[in-house]
Amino acid sequence: MLNIKELLEDIKANPYKEIVIKSPHTGAVEFADIKPGDKVRGRSGSYSEKPGTLLANLTREKNRKPINAPEKGEVVNIRTELEGKFVEAGEELLTIRHFLTRKEVIELILKKALHLFRAPERAKYYFIPEVDQKLKVSGKRSVKVQDGMEMLIVSRMKRETPLAYSGPEGIIYSVYFTRGDNVDAGEPLLGICPEDQLTTIQDVVAKVQSEWDEE
């Protein structure tokens, strides 16, 4: 049985996450009017349609692309020496200290409550077209999975192979991978909730909702 109170206390002891903002691609960087200590906000809106605080602009091929804060937090440091310069992909630009949100805390705790279907190897993962379509149309909790069901495509070293789910029957409650990103071996891909544990999981969510104060 999960001790949710204890888990919450652990998280409260260190409720921050350092987010390093890197240059997503090459280009000339111009920082926005921000300085260390400034508060920034992340994406918001019902569909995350409102961008976060502008941190910098990166110009490449005459396209000025804004770099916005992905989450709310506080600017810790800025590499002002890069101002106006051409940067390569992956160059560190600034760091944000982010206070964990209620949703993130729920996800952290759910990782301990759900059955985790883990990546068998480092690779990119995709849902097979049939599952992908169902998830898009009806949402992730609409897909029921069972042992041996072909569900994912593993893409590594430019080859794609189907991957069957193994584990208890249940519904997809959480998806931990993003299309196109590599997942390391052993990292969770999916959080599966067996149907008989749905009430327990909902209790976890309710408890965190009431006990976690957002900054």
Partner: protein, 456 residues
Amino acid sequence: MRIMKACAQLGHDFICLCTDVDRECGHVDMARELGGDSCVYTISNYLDANEIFSVADHAQATAIHPGYGFFAEDFRFARRTMSRDRSMIFIGPSWWVIRELGDKINTKRIARSLGVPTIPGSDRPVYNELEAENIARNLFDFQAAQGIRDGMVLVKASAGGGGMGIEEVQDLDQFRSVFRRIRNYAKRNFNDEGVLIEQRIFDFNHLEVQVVSERGGRKHVHFGTRNCSVQSTGKQKRIEVAPGFAPGDLPYAFDAAKVLEDITHHSLTMAREVGYDNVGTWEWIVTPKGEPFLMEVNTRIQVENGVSAVISRVGGEFGVNIIKEQVRLGLGGELSYDQEDISFDGVGIEYRIIAENPDDRFSPCSGAITRFGWQEEDWLELSTQIPRNRVYEIPMEYDPNLALAIVWGESLEQAKERGIRFLDSVVLEGESGGSAAEFRTNIAYLRDRTANLLEF
């Protein structure tokens, strides 16, 4: 790496791109050695055209060599290179030539119009599942009527190449799911869902003709044929041999010399018709009866160009370098020799050393290389990105190719004997999942397959 060497030999400055996961790759070491520290740029993705152009502008590059990958056959990329505000030269055929031949289906149409034989199947991209099923059903019925037991069809991404996005299907039920998967794959990788459906021809040999043409498309020569029949289950080449057959050394049930002559003739005919204007490869399959069918045209330099170069002589001289020719001609240089000046000498074998398990459907092997060495010989050229002075982690993002070795011999027998000698000298150690025993390479497979090369 060979492109950088060619640039250095021609006296051109160059810059080199790498991604974060490729930082430790030997090609970065070579770039720094040949071009200095400032010639290496880290980009987010080799397939992001904006990244390439942005770096090219920053470095004030005047030409772009697209390598051997997808951009090399992407007419939009070639067109953009030439038509942007700060235009550059695209080292490859002109974009309109790539567009003409880059689509397998259009290539088939051109070939048929010139009387060049092509494989039975769809002659345009298929998007609709019902239409696709009908074509597949007709092909299965056709094979059954021909007396072929357990017929098969191939489902291919129309815009694909290099063996990517191709699957074999044995029945209609399997066809439906494979069609959807390939369509999905094609959409993700090539941004075009078009799928080609063809009859799978059994027990064939895969031959290629190396064509080299001058800018302007007026003059064309060929650098002979290659046999690329040793392939993985995923249709990726593992050994290439030049020339394509050895009629003087081995018996064939058909006139092999005539087949080689026919396919080079057909390839040059098509090159002339479309005004081909750089380096390219015409890919053929030859049936056990000696019937050649054009499969596709690769409008780019291929990895295996070196095996053709090693047996080629221009004006009787050794040292043909097709990549160097490609760069030179791409920049507007003159094709200063004719077909009569080109001769062929001996046999070349190219081995692709790969971290994979041939016993498990050639599944790629992840892990790290801890030791790599081989016996140097004057009949051997080896290119590898594996650094010799440190452990090398094989990136998960790309094919686990480790090295490319080209062996030359005066005869097929000598080339095979040298090939085996080279493979026996290779010391390649690594670990996968923390275990040396789990690390796999295809060296034993390459050795096994050497015995029967060019036999048909």
